[in-house]
Amino acid sequence: MSGEVLLELKGVRLSFGQVRAVDGVDLAVAKGDLTAIIGPNGAGKTTLFNLITGRYRPDSGRITLDGQDISGRPSHQITRRGVARSFQITNIFPSLTVAENVQVALQITDRQTYRLLADFRPLGRERVAEILDLVGLTDKAGHPAGELSHGDQRTLEIALTLALRPRLLLLDEPTSGMSSWETSLVTDLIGRISTEMDLTVLFVEHDMSVAFSAAKKVVVMHQGRVFAQGEPEAIRCNEAVRAVYLGEEE
């Protein structure tokens, strides 16, 4: 473990009826970590994200961000504290242009939303250009977001999360549905974000090769629990992990 702990979960549980979706998760994410969460379908990965970001309230347990309890707070408040997330299903503003999408994210972060008579257009122009440049969407700035390719839309969503200047970035299957070319671009982007912007990143990944190549640390979930965690190499060689997960997949 490197530096201080940014995000910590202690004994977090959530059930839907009889199903224990998340069944006592303990997890600590240190500042600057680049962590992949893997696990078979229904392991509770996305539910875990939903708990961290306040979409669900845990039945029990505590979630702290930088030592402050955030469990069960409304999503927009948790976002305000610096937790940004992307979704498994692309979540953008299809009728706005690519640049406007990022602008809206910036304006909300900068608390400009209730300026009823201000001009929206020049807002945050430089920051928008920077972010679009970083993710490689500069030449599509004026396109309606709804008309982008799937891969570009997913990349735009990452751009939106970056506009929030987050401390913790949660990406839910950032490469799902992407071509192998797009996947390698996004994998590379995640790596750059984490180092260049000094961001703590936690991402759920279905594609094992992406998880093992991009992440510095891998957490394996199984049946709502953290089954194993460690360096990618250690996880790859872990016999128990192979049994519950890798074996199933192949």
Binding site: I92, E100, I108, P144
Partner: protein, 313 residues
């Protein structure tokens, strides 16, 4: 201020042209255009939450009628001039809109729509039966506005000025950060929440603004008609701006006003031909929805080859 130049030209220019044109029109035509202008504002006020906010309200007459009755009662009870009364009516209706919005926005989609309808019908029943205050089903008649305001041409000019200013203000709001936040909520409310904004508050503010402008339109109408009656609050009055928006097109700024003009125009022509003009109107709307899903204005815009992203402006 650069962004205002073209708009000021359009709104100011349109105002002056109509003002000059009015010089050559008789009382009947002045009244028709006055009504068109008022309804254009009414329709646009609804379109703030419908077209830009993605909220379907079946109860917008609750604000049109509220503003109308507020104007009527203030005219009856005070000696204030029409202008301060309209300002007061707009403020009161905005406050009423915030209360109604706070209740209705607790619910989602269809339930929201039904709640707006229920509250507007509640207001209708109150207005209809509270004789000592609203004069019940008789309505409030014989309201006096100043000598100057009673002249059709003067009221025509006054209404056009107020409506142009109000539409201009709405356009500013829609092109502000708030306007874009509102579009974003329409497109994807979950994403807005996860950008750290409170969706409920954004919608509530929009609802209050829409109510305020709807109330102003209602007040203008009462100042024009010199009376207020329960039909101003009736659900069928809520349907009118919806139809106008469908006629004109939901996805652009000028759709709603264009729809209002078309609506009044069709009513005038069809009423002469048949007593079943609503039947023809219904047919027209069906045809429009099937063949021109973006409304008349949307069709014109497509023909002019203008690309609109996120709805005008």
């Amino acid at each position: 201020m650069g962004r205002f130049k073209r708009d000021i030209l359009v709104f100011g220019g349109g105002f002056v042209v109509l003002l000059v044109l009015g010089r050559f029109l008789g009382g009947y035509h002045l009244r028709v255009i006055t009504e068109m202008a008022i309804l254009a504002l009414f329709a646009q006020s609804l379109n703030i939450i419908l077209g830009y906010g993605g909220l379907i309200s079946f109860g917008h007459a609750a604000f049109y009628g509220f503003g109308g009755y507020a104007t009527a009662i203030l005219l009856r009870e005070t000696s204030l001039g029409l202008i301060p009364i309209l300002v007061a009516a707009t403020v009161l209706t905005t406050a009423w809109g915030l209360i109604v919005g706070a209740v209705c926005l607790r619910a989602a989609r269809l339930y929201f729509a039904i709640l707006t309808l229920a509250i507007s019908q509640l207001l209708f029943v109150i207005v209809f039966q509270w004789y000592s205050f609203t004069n019940g089903d008789n309505g409030i008649h014989g309201l006096k506005v100043s000598e100057w305001m009673s002249q059709p041409y003067h009221y025509y000019g006054f209404t056009l000025g107020v409506v142009a200013a109000a539409l201009f203000l709405i356009r500013l709001i829609l092109s502000s950060p708030f306007g874009y936040a509102l579009r974003s909520v329409r497109d994807n409310r979950q994403r807005v929440e996860y950008l750290g904004a409170n969706v409920w508050t954004i919608r509530l503010v929009a609802f209050g603004i829409a109510a305020g402008f709807g109330g102003l339109a209602g007040g203008l109408y009462v100042g024009f008609d010199h009376m207020a009656y329960p039909m101003l609050v009736h659900w069928s009055k809520s349907a009118e701006p919806l139809l106008m928006i469908i006629l004109g097109g939901v996805s652009s700024f000028w759709g709603a006003p264009a729809g209002a003009v078309l609506f009044v125009f069709m009513e005038l022509i069809l009423v002469k031909v048949t007593t079943h003009w609503l039947f023809i109107l219904g047919l027209t709307i069906m045809i429009l929805v099937l063949f021109f899903p973006k409304g008349v204005w949307g069709f014109v815009e497509a023909r002019l080859g203008r690309r609109k992203v996120g709805g005008a402006p």
